[in-house]
C-alpha cells in the first residue's frame, strides 16, 4: 500500500468522526430521553443532559399495575415474540424441503426461484384487501396465529431464497453415499444435510424473525387490543395522547433490544442476508 499523506489522514479521521456522530446522535438522544426527568425534556432552551438519572419509566413499562401502560407493553411484547417465533419456524419448515429440492435439481427448478423472489417483493397492498375479507369471514382477525400465517407470505419465499444457495455448499456426494447405504430421504436430511447446514439455518431463521418483528402494515390492519404487536403498540403510544415523550422513548429502546442483539450476532452473514443471497458476502 501507498503511504497516506497527512492531509488525507486528517480527512479520513474527520470523516470517521462525522459518520460516527451521524449514526449515534439520534440513538443517544433516544436513550437520554428515556432516562430524563420530564421537566428536563420540556424546558427551553433544551437541556441536553438530564440533571438527575430517572429510571422510573423502565419500571413503569414492565409494571403489572392494572390498566397501566406496562400491561399493554408486555402483552404486545408477548404477541411480537409469538408471531415472530411461529412465523419464522413456519417459514423454515416450508423453506427447508423446497430449497433443498431446488438445490439438488441441478438447475432444472431454478425458474421457480425467480417466482419466489418476485412474490417476496410484491407490495403488501396488493394482497391485503382479500386477506382482510378472508380473515374477517373466518372470524380470524385479531389473532396472533392468523398474523403469523399471513407473515408466511413474506417469510417462506425469503427463507427459501436464503437457504437455497447454502444447500448448494453441502456436498451432494455425502448424501448419495448414504442413499446407497440404504438411508431414507428423511434420515439423510435429518442426520446429514441439516446438521451440515445448521449455521445457515440459524441465520435464515433469525433474519425471518427480524422481518416479522419489524412488520407493521399487516399488523396494523389485522390486530386490535390484545393481539397488537410491538410496532402497533409503539405507533399507538406515539400517536396517542401520551404526553410523556420519555415513556415513548423507553418503549422504543425496549422494543429495539432484541433486534439489535440479533443484528450484532448476524454481523458476519449480514450482507448475504440483506440481499438474500444477491451478493456473496
Amino acid at each position: 500500500m501507498e503511504r497516506r499523506s497527512l492531509p488525507f489522514s486528517i480527512f479520513i479521521y474527520v470523516s470517521a468522526v462525522i459518520l460516527g456522530v451521524f449514526v449515534l446522535a439520534p440513538l443517544v438522544w433516544l436513550l437520554i430521553m428515556s432516562i430524563s426527568d420530564t421537566n428536563d425534556l420540556t424546558t427551553l432552551p433544551l437541556r441536553w443532559l438530564p440533571q438527575t438519572l430517572d429510571l422510573h419509566r423502565y419500571a413503569q413499562i414492565v409494571s403489572l399495575a392494572e390498566n397501566g401502560v406496562g400491561i399493554a407493553f408486555l402483552i404486545a411484547l408477548k404477541n411480537s415474540l409469538a408471531v415472530a417465533t411461529i412465523a419464522s419456524l413456519g417459514g423454515l419448515a416450508v423453506a427447508i424441503p423446497a430449497a433443498w429440492s431446488v438445490s439438488r435439481a441441478h438447475g432444472r427448478l431454478n425458474f421457480s426461484l425467480y417466482v419466489v423472489v418476485a412474490t417476496y417483493m410484491l407490495p403488501p397492498v396488493a394482497l391485503v384487501v382479500p386477506m382482510y375479507f378472508a380473515l374477517s369471514a373466518m372470524g380470524a382477525l385479531n389473532s396472533v396465529f392468523s398474523l403469523a400465517i399471513v407473515y408466511l407470505s413474506i417469510l417462506a419465499p425469503f427463507t427459501t431464497w436464503l437457504l437455497k444457495s447454502n444447500f448448494d455448499h453441502v456436498p451432494a456426494e455425502i448424501e448419495q453415499a448414504a442413499m446407497i447405504d440404504g438411508a431414507r430421504l428423511d434420515q439423510i436430511l435429518r442426520r446429514i444435510t441439516l446438521p451440515l447446514a445448521r449455521p445457515a439455518l440459524t441465520t435464515a431463521g433469525l433474519f425471518a424473525f427480524l422481518l416479522a418483528w419489524d412488520e407493521f402494515f399487516y399488523a396494523l390492519l389485522f390486530t386490535a387490543k390484545d393481539s397488537k404487536t410491538l410496532p402497533v403498540f409503539i405507533a399507538d403510544l406515539a400517536g396517542g395522547r401520551v404526553a410523556d415523550y420519555g415513556l415513548i422513548a423507553t418503549a422504543g429502546v425496549m422494543a429495539s433490544l432484541p433486534p439489535v442483539l440479533i443484528g450484532f450476532f448476524l454481523q458476519k452473514s449480514l450482507v448475504s442476508g440483506l440481499t438474500a443471497g444477491g451478493v456473496k458476502g
Binding site: E2, L27, V115, L122, A156, F216, S256, Q267, G278
Partner: protein, 288 residues
Amino acid sequence: MMLRSWLLLAPLLAVMTFIIGWPLAKTVGVSFTDAKLIGGDVNWVGADNFARVLGSGMFWSVVWTTIRFVLISVTAEFAIGLGAALLLDQKFIGRNLLRALLILPWALPTVVNATMWRLIYNPDFGAFNALLTQTGMIDSYRSWLGEPGSALLAVCLADVWKNFSLVTLIALAALQSVPRELHSAAVIDGAGPWSRFRAVVLPYLIGPLTVAIVLRTIEAFKVFDIIWVMTRGGPANSTKTVSMLVYEQAFSFQKAGIGASVALVMVLVSSLLIAGYVGLLRRQGEFR
C-alpha cells in the same frame, strides 16, 4: 425423482398459491367491483375504478410524492452509503467499531425509527429545533413535520438514516473482495488514485452496488410505516404515498374496489422494478 422434487416443493407451493396467488387474483377481481370493505352489495363496474383513479388529480399527486420520496431517499442513501463504504475500506483506528455501529440503524425497528425522529422533530421541545436554534442556524422553532414545505424532506432524512448502512455494508463487502495484488500492480504501473478506482475497484463494485440500489428502490416505492407513524400522509397530503392512498381508500373510506385498483397500478410498476432486479441477480449468476 421429479415426483419427489414436487412433493418437497408442495408446502412452498401451497403457501404461494393460498397466501399469495389467491389474494393477488382476488385483488384483480375486487378492482372491477364496487365492493365495500364491510357489508353491502357487490356489483361489477368494469374498468370504472381504474378510470376514476387514473383521472383523479389526487392519484397523480400521490404518485409524484412517491417518486420524489424514492429519488431523494435512494440518491442520498447511495451517496452517503458509498462514501461511508469507501471510508471504511481505509485503515484507521476505530474502523471495526464504526463498522459495527452501522448495524444499529439497520437493526432498529422501522416504527421505532419513525417514532424516534418524530420526537426529534417535535415542534415544541424537539432536539432538532434545539440544535439548530442553539447553533444559530434558525431563529425560532419550526414544525418540520407540520409544514408541507419540509415534511417530505424530514421523513426522507429519517429513512436515509436508517437505510444508508445497507448500501454501505453491501458496498464494503464488494470493496474488500478486490484482490490486493490488483491494487499493488496498478500502483507499480503508476496509476493515480482516480484511474485506480475506475479500472481496479469499480468493476468489483458496480454489480453489488446496482443490486443494493434496485433493492432500496423497490422497498422505498412500497413505503408505508415510516410515513404512517410520522405524518399519516399530511400535512395537506404532502407526504401521502401510493401505499398510504391504498390504505386510506380501502380501510379508512372502506372503498375496497378503489383501493384494489390503486394497488394493482402499483403492482404493475413494481413488477417492472422486480423484473429488473431478478434480471440483475440472474446476470450475476446467483441462480446457477
